[in-house]
C-alpha cells in the first residue's frame, strides 16, 4: 500500500505525467508530495504565554533583588558540612524507611491476598491500625517505648527468656525513627502492592497455571512484573512523601536536614535563607527521584504498547528542531521530519 499523503485541498486529480507538474495556484494539479502544509495559528496561545511569562519574570526578579532572601547566607550554608551531614541522615531515614516499609508491605499484601483467613484478618487489622494513627503520634510512642517496656527479651513465647536487653540501649533515637517510619510506610505500601497485584488480568495466572509454572515463579516472573506498572507511580509518590516526611522526626531532636537548619537559624536568626537551604535540597533530591521513577517505569512498560514513547530528552530534541524549522520557514519541515 502506498503511504503517500493525499493533498488536503486538491480538487483536481494529480498530474498524470510526473516532472511536468505546473506551478499553478492551490487546487490546480500539483504532485501531492510537493504540497506544503501550513499550520493553523493560535493567537490566544501567545497572549496567555506572554501573560504567564510576565508573572514568572516578576517572581524571579523578586527572588533575586529582595534582600530578605539573603542569597549570601544561603550560599554559605548550602554545602556546609553540618548541612550535608544532616542531609545524609535524611537520605538514610528515607532509604531504611522505604526498604523496610516495602519489604513488610509485600508480606502484608501477600497475607491479605492469601487464602488463610487468619493472615487476612491480621493484615487487614495492621493496615487499619497504622493508617489510623498519625505518624507523629506513632513516632512519639516509639521514642517512649522504654516507658512501656524496660527490657526486651528473646525466648520461648510466654515462657522463659534466654537473652534480655535494656530497651534504651537497643532502640536509639534513630532506630525508633526508622521503626516508626517503616511501620507507617508498610501499611500504605501494602495497599499499593495489593492494588497492583489485583490489577493483573486473571487470565495471566490461569495461563501460568495451565503451563504448570511453579507457584513462586508465577508470582515473581508473571504477576509481579505486570503489577509493577500499576505499583510504580504510587510507590514513587510514597517514597517522595516519605523523603519529605522525614522532617517530622525533627521534633525528636534527630539531626536530619530540617532539624539542622532549625538549629542554625536558631543561633543566627537568619530564618529565610536557611529554610531555602532545606527547600532547595528537598527539591533537588525529589527531582532525582522523579527522574529515576521515569526510567524505571519505562523499563516495566516493555510490551505494554506497540512501541515505547520517546524519552523527554529525545522529545525535547525533536521539538526544538521542529520549532526552529517552523520559526525560520513558517511551515513544518516535512511529514517525515515530524515522525523522526
Amino acid at each position: 500500500m502506498s503511504r503517500t499523503i493525499p493533498a488536503p485541498q486538491s480538487a483536481a486529480p494529480a498530474s498524470p505525467s510526473p516532472g511536468l507538474a505546473p506551478s499553478g495556484p492551490p487546487g490546480a494539479a500539483v504532485e501531492p508530495e510537493h504540497l506544503v502544509v501550513v499550520r493553523s495559528r493560535h493567537p490566544w496561545r501567545w497572549v496567555a504565554a506572554v501573560a504567564v511569562a510576565i508573572v514568572v519574570a516578576q517572581f524571579i526578579h523578586g527572588l533575586v533583588t529582595n534582600p530578605g532572601w539573603d542569597w549570601g547566607t544561603f550560599a554559605q550554608y548550602f554545602t556546609a558540612a553540618s548541612v550535608l551531614k544532616a542531609l545524609w541522615m535524611t537520605v538514610q531515614l528515607t532509604v531504611y524507611g522505604t526498604v523496610l516499609g516495602f519489604a513488610l508491605g509485600i508480606g502484608l499484601a501477600a497475607a491479605r491476598l492469601s487464602k488463610n483467613p487468619v493472615l487476612q484478618v491480621v493484615s487487614w487489622t495492621y493496615i487499619w491500625a497504622f493508617r489510623s494513627i498519625p505518624l507523629i503520634v506513632q513516632l512519639l510512642f516509639w521514642f517512649n517505648i522504654a516507658y512501656l517496656y524496660k527490657t526486651l527479651s528473646i525466648g520461648v513465647p510466654f515462657g522463659p527468656a534466654f537473652v534480655e536487653f535494656d530497651v534504651n540501649d537497643v532502640i536509639s533515637g534513630m532506630m525508633a525513627a526508622v521503626i516508626g517510619l517503616a511501620l507507617h510506610q508498610a501499611a500504605y505500601s501494602a495497599e499499593i502492592i495489593r492494588a497492583g497485584i489485583i490489577s493483573v488480568d486473571a487470565g495471566q495466572l490461569e495461563a501460568a497455571a495451565a503451563l504448570g509454572i511453579p507457584k513462586r515463579r508465577q508470582f515473581f516472573k508473571i504477576v509481579m512484573p505486570q503489577a509493577m506498572r500499576a505499583i510504580l507511580p504510587n510507590a514513587a509518590n510514597e517514597v517522595i512523601s516519605l523523603f519529605k516526611g522525614t522532617s517530622i522526626v525533627s521534633t525528636m531532636a534527630i539531626a536530619e536536614l530540617f532539624y539542622q537548619v532549625q538549629v542554625i537559624y536558631g543561633r543566627s536568626g537568619r530564618v529565610v535563607p536557611l529554610l531555602m537551604v532545606a527547600t532547595v535540597w528537598y527539591i533537588v533530591l525529589t527531582t532525582l527521584l522523579s527522574i529515576g521513577q521515569y526510567y524505571i517505569e519505562r523499563h516495566y512498560a516493555r510490551g505494554s504498547a506497540r512501541s515505547l514513547p520517546l524519552t523527554p530528552w529525545q522529545k525535547a530534541r525533536t521539538r526544538i528542531r521542529t520549532f526552529l524549522d517552523t520559526a525560520t520557514t513558517g511551515r513544518t519541515p516535512t511529514r517525515a521530519g515530524d515522525a523522526r
Binding site: 503451563l211 507457584k215 505494554s304
Partner: protein, 262 residues
C-alpha cells in the same frame, strides 16, 4: 505418579469417567464419559453454556470435578488412588501434571511483558527443568512451524490476533504435551485470521498430536475430526465420526443445533 507404569495399560490419551460438576446449584456437567485415543482429533460441539469449557478445564484440573475420574495417558489427574480412596495431590504435583497437557485459550493469554520467544521458553525451563539453550533452539523451530519465526523477539501486543494465537499454540507445543486442549481457539479472531490458525491446528492433527478442540467451526470438524462430540446441558448427546454426527445425526437436539450453525 509414575506415568510409565500405568501408561502401557491404557490405549487412550484421555479418559473421562462419570464426571459431574456443580457451580452452586447449577449442575454444569451431568455425568460425562469420553475416551480419546492417542493421535486422534476430537472436536466438541454444543450450544453456549452446555459445559464445553468446563469439561476442557477439568481435564487439566483448572476446574475440580465433584465426582468421576479423569485420566491423561493412564495417569489420574489431581488425585492419587490408594485402595478405594482418592488422595488430593499437592499443588506442586498438579502443576507438574499440567505441564504435560497443553491448553490454548480463546483469548491467547500470552504474557505481554515477555517476548514471543520468552513466552515459549518459560514453561519448559521453569516447569520441566529443561536446559534453556536446548529449549530455545526447539522453540525457534516451533515458531518456524507455526509461521511466526520472524517475530521471535517481538512482544505479543505487536502481533496480530492470528499471530498471537499461533504463538500460544507454539507455547503449548513446547511442553511436548500428551494432549493439547483448545477452547474456541478462533472465536476471538477476525474472520480472515481464522484460516491461518485452523491451518496450524490441521497440521498438528496430520502429525499425529492428540487434540481436543472446542469450536463452532463445523467445516473444520468435518475435515479434521476423527470423533465429533455433541454436548448439550452438561451431557454428551451423541458422539461418532463426523459423517455420522454432522450429516446423519441421531438426535433431535443435534439436528437442530447443526441446522442452526450451518
Amino acid at each position: 505418579m509414575s506415568a510409565g507404569a500405568t501408561a502401557v495399560t491404557s490405549e487412550y490419551a484421555v479418559e473421562i469417567l462419570g464426571v459431574h460438576k456443580t457451580f452452586g446449584s447449577l449442575e454444569v456437567l451431568r455425568g460425562i464419559d469420553l475416551q480419546v485415543r492417542r493421535g486422534e482429533v476430537t472436536v466438541i460441539l454444543g450450544p453456549s453454556g452446555s459445559g464445553k469449557s468446563t469439561l476442557l478445564r477439568a481435564i487439566n484440573h483448572l476446574e475440580r470435578v465433584d465426582t468421576g475420574l479423569i485420566k491423561v495417558d493412564g495417569e489420574l489427574i489431581g488425585y492419587r488412588q490408594k485402595g478405594n480412596r482418592l488422595h488430593e495431590l499437592s499443588e506442586r504435583e498438579v502443576l507438574h501434571q499440567r505441564s504435560s497437557i497443553g491448553f490454548v485459550f480463546q483469548n491467547f493469554n500470552l504474557f505481554p511483558h515477555l517476548t514471543v520467544l520468552q513466552n515459549v521458553v518459560e514453561a519448559p525451563v521453569s516447569a520441566q527443568k529443561r536446559n534453556r539453550a536446548e529449549v530455545e533452539t526447539e522453540a525457534r523451530a516451533l515458531l518456524e512451524r507455526v509461521g511466526v519465526a520472524d517475530k521471535a523477539d517481538a512482544y505479543p501486543r505487536q502481533l496480530s490476533g492470528g499471530q498471537q494465537q499461533r504463538v500460544a499454540i507454539a507455547r503449548a507445543l513446547a511442553l511436548r504435551p500428551k494432549v493439547i486442549l483448545f477452547d474456541e481457539p478462533t472465536s476471538a479472531l477476525d474472520p480472515e485470521l481464522v484460516g491461518e490458525v485452523l491451518a496450524v491446528i490441521k497440521q498438528l492433527a496430520h502429525h499425529g498430536t492428540t487434540l481436543i478442540v472446542v469450536t463452532h467451526e463445523i467445516g473444520f470438524a468435518r475435515e479434521v475430526a476423527d470423533t465429533v462430540v455433541f454436548m448439550d446441558a452438561g451431557v454428551i448427546v451423541e458422539q461418532g465420526p463426523p459423517q455420522q454426527v454432522l450429516d446423519a445425526p441421531q438426535h433431535e437436539r443435534t439436528r437442530t443445533f447443526i441446522s442452526r450453525v450451518l
